[in-house]
Amino acid sequence: METYTLIVLLLAATIRVATPLLLAALAGLFSERSGVIAIGLEGMMLGAAFAAAAVAAASGSVWLGLGAGIATAVALALLLAFAGVTHRGNQVVAGMAVNIMVAGLGPALALAWFNLGGQTPQLEGPGQRFLALTWPWADAARAAPFPGLIYAELLSGHNLVVYFAAALVPLSAWVLYRTRFGLRLRAVGENPQAVDTAGISVTRLRYQAVAISGVLCGVAGTYLSTAASSGFVRDMTAGKGYLALAALIFGKWRPYPTLGACLLFAFTDALATRLQGVALPLVGVIPVQFILALPYVLTVLLLAGFVGTAVAPKAIGVPYAKEK
């Protein structure tokens, strides 16, 4: 295959891998900017992936699946807020608890309900899955590789969720920086006392932020089980929640840089798939594992202050006590 086609296909794969990552990272953005650590992204996503696939399989409607996915992730988000905001428990512990619990609960319920060894039934057809949309003339455009192939592969040929995720970036930026809610949200993550003094409920704001993160994780999980694949399998998030957390940190808790980080991390993933066993000039075969570990290494380097600096929201992880 010629280089140009290869690059376009690589970028198309990047977009597909980046979508759930971006949704989860934006979910983390809302949660962490309000001062609640988002360790639970992985669990919320996995729970949504299971619920979406189970309901889509049982009802035959992917939209009902999406609703179930969002409802499940929001329920888990509220549990996190109940533990970490209302009862001032350790938010990291709460997140880990949800991640571990859901990792077991999905396959356990799947086995009991569908009896397929911890999976959900194969989703088939357009009704049960989010399928790629083909834009007008996309197939005809392939005849002229430039710019036709870019149109056909990068703009067209994705499912609804991908476009939704893309639209969410400017929307999040607008909400965060241009609305009263966003201002308060950022304030409550930096200085909850000040927000409280202004007569605004810290608890209420944090619940709202965590609920939003639940909604977005719900969409991300639904994407995994009904768009990226056709059904739920054990551990299907495979650390994507943690990777999204890394992308959020790498993007310095801001929407557009977070998008950049997600694309970068997704690109390394797509590249690793492409480079499996391929010998490159000068360096030879690069082990896939090292390319896959790159996002984690980069994030550690960033946190260490060796590549730029990332300053977390000041009040992150600190439960707010009114009386203090």
Partner: protein
């Protein structure tokens, strides 16, 4: 209720964890009911599977050994005010050290291999924990995030090593060759046999006694030495620690080294004692179970021992359960682990406040809430 409600010591160490455990088990029972099985029958099957025979007890304690190591690892870091989520990766890399020693020193007698293997596991595990510890102490990088990242990096490194370097030639699955028999950790049944006691052959091995020894040493170190005092002060109040002449960054690094060394000892049980080779993902989530064990055991070696046995029993009883109740599989055990972490760790204040109020009332309202 400004400060977390105060409980008397016995309630803090015994009653509260028990109440939390009961809550977690009750919710698990609801889930099993939802699945369509009887929770009571499941509980009986699990208890029987975990303690019903010598074999069952052997397996339970063998699993518990892993959890004692990782539970101690999480607890030591916790006393220094650090949340070490990286025990999984530290156990993985530490086991590599132990495994390499067993692969290389196969010709040595066991009593010479053992100290080298212990040291290698500890050094490798501590080395893997050192980087996040150093980054936290010197560069202010959040240790929760860096240890999570290091779990993934450890997994990538180990996969690469097993697939490309350590794999036994002419074999498909990414595993090293088997260790020489001389380096096997002696089974507890053999040791008991030498003193004239008979015990069914199980994977339970000498590493269990090493884990108990490690528990005692941790107790000695954390509660009975100047170093341990510095550790706890720095963990509870870094500002006060500075006034007392303690250097919190140095404590952070030292605590992570000890934590990593403890997690790294998992290989002694899992690889030297049971698997006898290095294989993919041998910690199998024990690093995360360690969080639950430490939380439930109130970060004290005695509590950690009981919590580790409980989780060992869940592991062993869970496999028995999945055997007898086909609709309930081992994933149910993972659910229970998650619920225990939830109730003992994140939701502990839910029961603490009413318990404190209740106990205060019994004492004639002497303790104001």
């Amino acid at each position: 209720m400004s400060a977390p409600a105060k409980l008397p010591r016995w309630a803090e160490l015994g009653l509260l964890p028990a109440v939390n455990l009961v809550a977690a088990l009750l919710l698990s029972g609801v889930i099993i009911r939802l699945i369509g099985e009887s929770p009571w029958a499941a509980l009986k099957l699990m208890a029987d599977g975990a303690f019903g025979s010598q074999e069952a007890v052997g397996y339970t304690l063998y699993y518990a050994t892993n959890f004692i190591f990782t539970g101690l690892a999480v607890a030591v870091a916790y006393h220094a005010g650090l949340f070490n989520i990286g025990a999984e990766g530290q156990a993985y890399i530490g086991g590599l050290g132990t495994g390499l020693v067993c692969l290389w020193l196969g010709a040595w007698p066991f009593w010479l291999v053992l100290p080298v293997a212990i040291l290698a596991g500890a050094v490798f595990g501590a080395g893997w924990a050192f980087i996040p510890g150093w980054l936290q102490a010197r560069r202010g990088s959040h240790i929760v995030i860096t240890t999570i990242m290091f779990n993934f990096i450890a997994s990538a490194v180990m996969t690469w090593l097993l697939v490309n370097v350590l794999i036994k030639p002419g074999q498909q699955s990414p595993e090293s060759r088997e260790f020489a028999a001389a380096t096997f950790m002696p089974g507890l049944h053999t040791l008991l046999g030498k003193v004239g006691l008979s015990f069914t052959a199980t994977p339970l091995n000498l590493a269990f006694l090493l884990a108990l020894a490690a528990s005692f040493l941790v107790w000695l170190l954390v509660w009975r030495t100047r170093w341990g005092y510095a550790l706890r002060v720095a963990g509870q109040n870094p500002a006060a620690a500075v006034y007392a002449g303690i250097l919190p960054p140095r404590v952070t690094i030292a605590a992570m080294l000890l934590s990593g060394a403890l997690a790294g000892s998992l290989g002694l049980n899992e690889l030297m004692g049971a698997q006898h080779r290095i294989l993919l993902d041998f910690p199998g989530g024990a690093g995360f179970v360690g969080i639950a064990v430490a939380l439930m055991g109130r970060n004290h070696p005695v509590g950690i021992f009981f919590a580790a046995v409980l989780f060992g029993a869940l592991m062993q009883g869970g496999s028995q359960l999945s055997f007898d109740m086909p609709r309930v599989n081992r994933d149910m055990v993972v659910v229970i682990q998650g619920l225990v972490i939830l109730f003992c760790g994140a939701l502990e204040n839910v029961f603490r406040v009413p318990l404190a109020a209740l106990l205060a009332r019994f004492r004639g309202g002497k303790e104001e809430a």
